[in-house]
């Protein structure tokens, strides 16, 4: 078996999600190649070559791949993927955007968000907002799957010494163009990779009150998340949303503040090791999954928490 893992990166840095995806590939077994498609992405390829368990790094360095437009990258992935038994990408927005397109070009039914490898053709994945776990077997010749990164411990970032090969294929489909982007800037750890996450919900009342959470986060080295209610109300930007339709996190500690715990939110965080809920409504569903629940007004409890840490 041979597995192609599509690297997640921003042309400068290899993202941690790639290491989790390589771990899923290791669970399948076989040679693991990593594809780095980008522009000026040499440093990313070097980083990928050092990852544990990687046999070969393929680099497609071309302006056509700079912003990883799905139209261009999917074509490349389909071209290369023909020679592999498995094609995996992390279930990030980049992976979810590109991978199904590549799968369709290969005439394959992909598997989204796998959380476990049962055998090379059988995988587990959550459906219905994580309320059901399905065991799914693929009969396609090439298995194309996106990997829920929080379900696999990352392989070591150092110690490997894979060969780096450049790929000459240039696929510019000419269908799409990058116009611009607005990225939220933060000094805190990335939400999906943070060891501690503190999230606020509708109970925060407004965006300014998130300052209370930022202060606690800075003491804990935590990332700050939010429920859909808080995002929809405009308290915080959408990339902070944790849940079925936002980010899936599984930190060591998840602190839910002023979040009721709708199933769509629980789908994004219920695999956290320890869950703390701070809510003044003692009937809130979040308490049914919380290891430690504190029934209190968050405007008293959160500042107190900050001083006690």
């Amino acid at each position: 078996m041979s597995i192609l893992v599509i690297a997640e990166h921003d042309n400068a840095e290899l993202k941690g999600a790639t290491l989790n995806t390589v771990a899923a590939a290791k669970a399948i077994g076989g040679d693991i190649d990593v594809l780095v498609a980008g522009s000026g992405c040499g440093a990313v390829a070097e980083a990928a070559a050092k990852a544990e368990g990687v046999s070969k790094v393929l680099v497609a360095d071309n302006a056509a791949y700079e912003h990883q437009l799905a139209e261009n990258v999917a074509k490349l992935v389909a071209d290369l993927g023909k020679n592999y038994s498995h094609v995996l990408a992390p279930a990030t927005t980049t992976g979810k955007n590109m991978l199904p397109r590549a799968a369709a070009l290969l005439d394959v039914q992909p598997l989204s968000d796998i959380i476990a490898v049962e055998s090379p053709d059988t995988f587990k994945r959550p459906i219905y907002a994580g309320n059901v776990i399905a065991t799914v077997q693929s009969s396609d010749a090439i298995k194309v799957a996106s990997v829920r990164t929080t379900a696999f411990d990352p392989v070591a970032a150092e110690g490997g010494s894979a060969a780096v090969e450049s790929v000459d294929i240039v696929d510019d489909a000419g269908l799409s163009q990058f116009v611009g982007e607005e990225l939220a800037k933060s000094d805190r750890p990335e939400l999906t990779a943070a060891r501690v996450v503190i999230s606020g919900g509708r109970g925060m009342q407004n965006g300014d009150n998130f300052e209370l959470l930022y202060k606690v986060a800075d003491k804990l080295g935590a990332a700050v998340g939010a429920s859909r209610a808080a995002v929809d109300a405009g308290f915080v930007p959408n990339d902070m949303q944790v849940g079925q339709t936002g980010k899936i996190v599984a930190p060591d500690l998840y602190i839910a503040v002023g979040i009721s715990g709708a199933i769509q939110h629980l789908a994004g965080m219920k695999d956290s090791k320890v869950i703390v809920a701070i809510n003044k409504d003692e009937e809130a569903p979040i308490f049914s999954v919380a290891d430690y629940g504190l029934v209190a007004d968050l405007f008293d409890a959160v500042p107190e928490l900050e001083t006690k840490l």
Partner: protein, 249 residues
Amino acid sequence: MKVLVAVKRVVDYNVKVRPKADGSDVDTANVKMSINPFCEIAVEEAVRLKEKGVVSEIVAVSMGSKQCQEQIRTALALGADRGILVETDAELQPLAVAKCLKALVEKESPQLVILGKQSIDGDNNQTGQMLAALTGMGQGTFASEVNVEDASVKVTREIDGGLQTVELKLPAVVTTDLRLNEPRYASLPNIMKAKKKPLDTTTPDELGVDIAPRTKTLKVEPPAERQAGIKVADVAELVEKLKSEAKVI
């Protein structure tokens, strides 16, 4: 221009589903069904484009059992002009749905196809991307803003780090994120009018599409239950427990 909107019939988002005791499938007997929330946003966006004068006709399509007519009628009540049901009782996987949609795209030649970014039952997030691949169109997935220009569409997409804007040549495929719009409610007169709007039925066979499933669900089961936790009396106790018992801070 013409817009094709795909809508899916799913278990209502408020229902907590459970696997059947034998683990063969999810128990959907006597469960409330609705239009998938992301599909509703897709319909709303198409209707808004029509209200702006950009779009002249909206075709709502769905595939599955006869009951999917209800979801098409919902789309018609929200403002779609006509409906197409691709009727089959067989299991439809995203690749098969994308192939049926491709056949309809070839027949109808829409300039824009709008779908939800994912259905809340399968949670696949694949169909729009696959349709775009099969038809050779550009794709604007996870859209939070859509601006149609002469021969192109600008789509602002929700990505992990924030927002990204891409420009796609028309025809193109757009999949909706939650923040694209706030769907309206269908008024009673519109629901009555929707009953008179045309709804054609076809089948995957008539479209010449092979819908044979590529994956098999071997088992469905509930996720591991979390242990019931404890309530702490105050912040001091919480911090103490996190330090000494859970050892996470």
